[in-house]
Amino acid sequence: MRKPRENPYIPFDATITKIVDLNEESKSFHLDSSELRKMIYQPGQFIQVTVYGVGEVAIGITDTIYDEGFEVAIRNTGGRVTSYLHTMKVGDIVGIRGPLGKPFPMDDFKGKNLLFICAGIGFWPIRACIKHVINHREDYGKLLAIFGVRNPSLFTYTDEIESWMSREDMKVQRTVDSCSDEDCWDENVGLITSLTDDFKPQNPEDWIILCCGPPVAFKFIGESLNKNGFNDDQIWVSLERKMKCGIGKCNHCLIHGTRYVCMDGPVFTLGEARDMPGGLD
């Protein structure tokens, strides 16, 4: 019998049990298998999804559906794997390796106020954190989540976000970069920084910020938050790199010779990321 843990390059199989269209370019896939259910996963980690014969892609886990397996959301970037995944059907088999990488240290954040900043598809890995926090609501202080996308049609998991908006114990803000006349938007219009600029709580040191999105956005978000009294070590970001092995061997995700995103990350504090030259490229 095959023992998957012995050989880190060999995936285990999982079946696609459900596919949901999130928006015109993204779908979410529910995956399940007995081995997958044994997987212990923490928010911020990622898995490597193999489409046999096509390739492998690193994906942040969007949610743990604790008794039905896992959910990953995948945007069709036009690459080999993502475009093929978008043609797959319920019942098809994929391979999984993981969980890989370091998670957000959620236990260290206990008792703190949390700000989630989700830029574009950066929402998906953060979604697992938000759900974790909601499930352990009493461990954490105030909650604020900021969502930003390019235009209103790109919001995903809208029902869920709206259910969070209706919660008393959590505040949600949404913004779009721009909107046309057809799909008008009555909430905030502007870059994410237009919301973070106004985020000036009384005791900034009580807050932890979890941020995910394109690395370039981190620079601007960081600047905006720094102005309001947050230091870089309070801000946690999740970085992205090309990945192949996912286990610190192949050197694809090496950032300027010193840190592996797959092993030392993908979660870093903004301070750590800034210390790595090119870390925020």
């Binding site: 014969g53 096509v54 390739g55 080999r80 093929y84 043609t87």
Partner: protein
């Protein structure tokens, strides 16, 4: 099981070597035929049946006269996927060099009377019609061709390594033809194109004792100007080097280096 995909194989101006390499697959052709119906192949089939409604069109050769350009447009209209095979189709091939030379002189050297010759500029296929995938090389590597077809049939793009020939050459542990100022015997005294040429051939020429010829074209990030600078230090003239980097790629738009 739905009907097998219909495949047409077409030859434009070329040496037919890439189609020959398909034949050279020997028994494995039969394995490919398990998956496809060949509906048009002038080299191997009796008067072609019907080159319409093709799923895959495979084109060898470059476009070098008006008739071929028209035929190509027709093929594109009748095919879902167009893949090209060989250097002629992908880059123009050796005949493309005449684009960069004094065309009249070239043509009159071959033909004493030019009145009957109708030849346009040599063009790579993708300069004429949209091409979905190119199998490169002069000639193609038959295994690579078979793999490309199998991948397309499986619904995915064939894997490309996107590396220079030096990768495969060093993997094979070959002696480097490009080492600085190393004297080479006469017959090898050409600057190796390995560092700027696309891999995938298995470093065929360097593994057979000859410097790389660059038949698969440049890599995506080829540092051609730096390469030419290095070439000049190896007692080559700028004209020779310009012809060398375009030996197979005269039929593409990015043949500017030669003109510079």
């Amino acid at each position: 099981m739905s009907e097998k995909p219909r495949v047409g194989i077409f030859g434009m101006t070329s040496c037919y070597g890439c189609q020959l390499e398909i034949i050279n697959l020997e028994e494995n052709i039969l394995r490919l035929l398990d998956h496809v119906n060949i509906s048009y192949w002038r080299l191997a089939l009796e008067t072609p049946s019907d080159p319409k409604n093709l799923d895959i069109a495979i084109i060898e050769g470059s476009a070098s006269n008006q008739e071929e350009i028209e035929e190509l447009r027709e093929i594109r209209q009748n095919s879902k996927i167009v893949i090209t095979i060989g250097a002629c189709a992908a880059l123009g091939g050796v005949q493309g060099m005449r684009n960069l030379m004094n065309n009249e002189r070239v043509m009159s050297a071959a033909y004493s009377n030019l009145s009957g010759v109708r030849a346009t500029e040599v063009k790579a296929i993708h300069e004429v019609i949209k091409v979905d995938y190119a199998v490169r090389g002069c000639p193609i590597n038959k295994e690579e061709f078979a793999a490309a077809i199998l991948h397309l049939l499986a619904g995915t793009q064939p894997p490309a390594w996107n590396m220079p020939v030096c990768n495969e050459c060093k993997i094979k542990g070959n002696e480097c033809f490009f080492e600085r100022k190393k004297p080479l015997p006469h017959y090898q005294s050409r600057v190796c194109l390995g560092p700027i040429s696309e891999a995938g051939c298995g470093a065929r020429c360097p593994s057979n004792g000859m410097p790389c010829d660059g038949c698969r074209g440049w890599t995506e990030d080829a540092h051609v100007k730096q390469w030419i600078k290095e070439g000049l230090e190896r007692n080559q003239t700028i004209e020779d080097l310009a012809m060398l980097v375009h030996r197979y790629s005269g039929g593409t738009k990015d043949s500017e280096i030669a003109k510079e």
